[in-house]
């Protein structure tokens, strides 16, 4: 029920009460001071979430094979850029402007701030904030959803259809479903609660990625005829680890900023609590993956630890404030453990998810959305499942349609030869590490 934002501040104030703190009645923090804190919180936390774009880029560049690394970087910087433009052109207003129940009012975003004609501050609400800061914070979220798709479908989708999908995902699909909950539409009325977006951001990307991966098919050579799997190890694990640390850091912005205010003691305590719980869940996800892979495989799989951290983070995202530390650890540990089991399961189903994004963002996202009921008295299993299923149905159907149309128009896959050669040479005409090993052009 969070993130109603500009259009439902009263509901917001009410919802905060439910998670443990009310705003101070003593007028201890002036309206303008609160306005500064709130606005800065969006700007600062938004910058942290922007940083997650780098995290996804590094994680994915590290987990693909060398011959597709340049392309993976290209996709990541392009998708972040496209998301940022589309969300201004249409996305924000479609999600938050006069939401009817099923979507808002498309059109470019523009600011409305509490200043009079002379530029005097005339805000009258301790929950006020600058419009641009809110736009910025919301914008960085949509890019996250698109990053998930790029990770799963890496190494075998052509650049152009991928980018067109990103245009539609970030401009239309994400905002429409977002309007249902954070925009104040039917899902929020159905009692669906998703604090920072386990479902609304992560599962949305996950469903689009899953649908895409099925339609696109696996990388050539990944699954052998006899049912065995041919691992294609990530080419640069330090990059993958760096990406994970970046995401971890950025997640303080993702979850902390989703408190949507910092202008009271209650809000800032909430933010600090969210930082703590977010960190505990991620740590628990790592330790769960560490123990599980150590015990099951006798060797510790670093890529699973990285995915485990992210699984823990995604799981705590639906409710990072209300849980106790112990419950946060539990939610994160299960999130990490689910990833360890989901990754090979998807392989068994011959769904080729290059970086484990479906396991991390969709599977742990569903878990986290359900786990809200453990700590938030306002949440119901029914409400949570309604949200999960509603978003699933919408995203599967719409992305399937978009993917099929793109397949018709552009074709999704490069030629077999181009796939074997690598997208870097085929579509970028350059190599990520031209001088290393056999890729060298200098010899």
């Amino acid at each position: 029920m969070k993130k109603f934002m500009s259009f439902s501040l009263l509901a917001l104030a009410a919802s905060i009460a439910t998670v443990g703190f009310t705003k101070s009645a003593s007028a201890d923090v002036s309206i303008e001071t609160a306005f500064i804190f709130n606005t800065f919180s969006f700007a600062f936390h938004g910058a942290l979430v922007m940083w997650m774009a780098a995290g996804f880029a590094m994680l994915e560049a590290g987990l693909v094979r060398t011959k597709n690394t340049t392309m993976q970087l290209t996709k990541n910087i392009a998708l972040y850029s496209i998301a940022g433009l589309m969300y201004w052109v249409i996305g924000y207003n479609l999600m938050y402007a006069d939401v009817s129940g099923f979507f808002g009012t498309p059109g470019p975003w523009s600011a409305a701030d509490p200043f009079d004609a002379e530029g005097m501050f005339i805000g009258d609400d301790a929950a006020g904030y600058g419009a641009a800061s809110d736009w910025f914070f919301q914008m960085v979220f949509v890019a996250t959803a698109a990053s998930i798709v790029s990770g799963t479908m890496a190494e075998r989708i052509k650049l152009v259809p991928f980018l067109v999908f990103v245009v539609i995902l970030t401009g239309i699909l994400y905002p429409i479903q977002g309007s249902w909950s954070w925009g104040g539409g039917w899902l929020s009325e159905a009692g669906f609660l998703d604090f920072a977006g386990s479902t609304i951001v992560h599962s949305v990307g996950g469903w689009a990625a899953l649908t895409g991966a099925i339609i696109l098919g696996a990388r050539k050579g990944k699954y052998n005829a006899d049912g065995s799997i041919n691992p294609m190890p990530g080419s640069n694990l330090p990059l993958a680890a760096l990406g994970t640390f970046i995401l971890w850091m950025g997640w303080f912005g993702f979850n902390g900023g989703s408190q949507l205010a910092m202008g009271s003691a209650a809000d800032v305590v909430a933010i600090a609590t969210i930082y703590m719980n977010t960190n505990l869940a991620a740590a628990a996800g790592v330790v769960a993956a560490l123990i599980l892979t150590g015990v099951m495989y006798k060797k510790v799989d670093l890529t699973m630890l990285l995915n485990g951290a992210l699984g823990g983070l995604v799981a705590i995202t639906a409710e990072p404030l209300a849980p106790s530390p112990l419950l946060s650890i539990f939610i994160g540990a299960i999130g990490g453990a689910l990833v360890v089991f989901a990754v090979p399961l998807l392989d068994k189903l011959k769904i080729d998810d290059v970086v484990g994004a479906i396991s991390v963002h969709l599977v742990a996202g569903i878990w986290g959305t359900i786990a809200v009921v453990f700590s938030n008295a306002d949440a119901t299993i029914g409400g949570q499942l309604t949200g999960i299923v509603g978003v699933a149905v919408f995203m599967i159907i719409t992305s399937a349609i978009v993917w099929f149309v793109l397949k018709l128009i552009f074709g999704l896959r490069p030629s077999e030869e181009d796939e074997a050669l690598g997208l870097d040479r085929a579509e970028n005409g350059m190599e990520a590490y031209p001088e290393f090993g056999r890729g060298s052009q200098t010899i």
Partner: protein
């Protein structure tokens, strides 16, 4: 004994290996090389500047076999590495005077 040295396209390596193990070959050695040949590299553009890629990635397979296997080995490599397109590579056969298995000290045919 002969050393069969084949320069092939990298993505053909697995097929070549399988075709050779099909003949009973038990070992071979592979290295990454760059080839210059009739197959000209594409013209690429890097930061607006055109250039041609002279050296292309290839893989060198070296396998030492008894004299009577050379024909089959060369044939298998030629078949399995073939795409029919320029740049498929070459097979060269060289004489080997002696072979030793380091582990056991066995020599010649026993060493392979």
């Amino acid at each position: 004994m002969k050393l069969v040295m084949a320069i092939i396209k990298p993505f053909k390596l697995d097929e070549v290996r399988e075709s050779l193990t099909g003949l009973g070959i038990q070992g071979l050695t592979v290295s990454e090389v760059k080839g210059f040949g009739r197959q000209k590299g594409q013209t690429e553009i890097y930061r607006g500047a055109e250039y041609s890629v002279n050296f292309l990635p290839k893989v060198k397979v070296e396998v030492v076999v008894a004299d009577d296997m050379v024909g089959q080995v060369a044939e298998q490599i030629q078949k399995s590495a073939n795409t029919g397109r320029i740049g498929d590579g070459k097979i060269f056969v060289l004489d080997v005077a002696q072979a030793v298995r380091i582990r056991t000290g066995e020599t010649d045919a026993d060493a392979l």
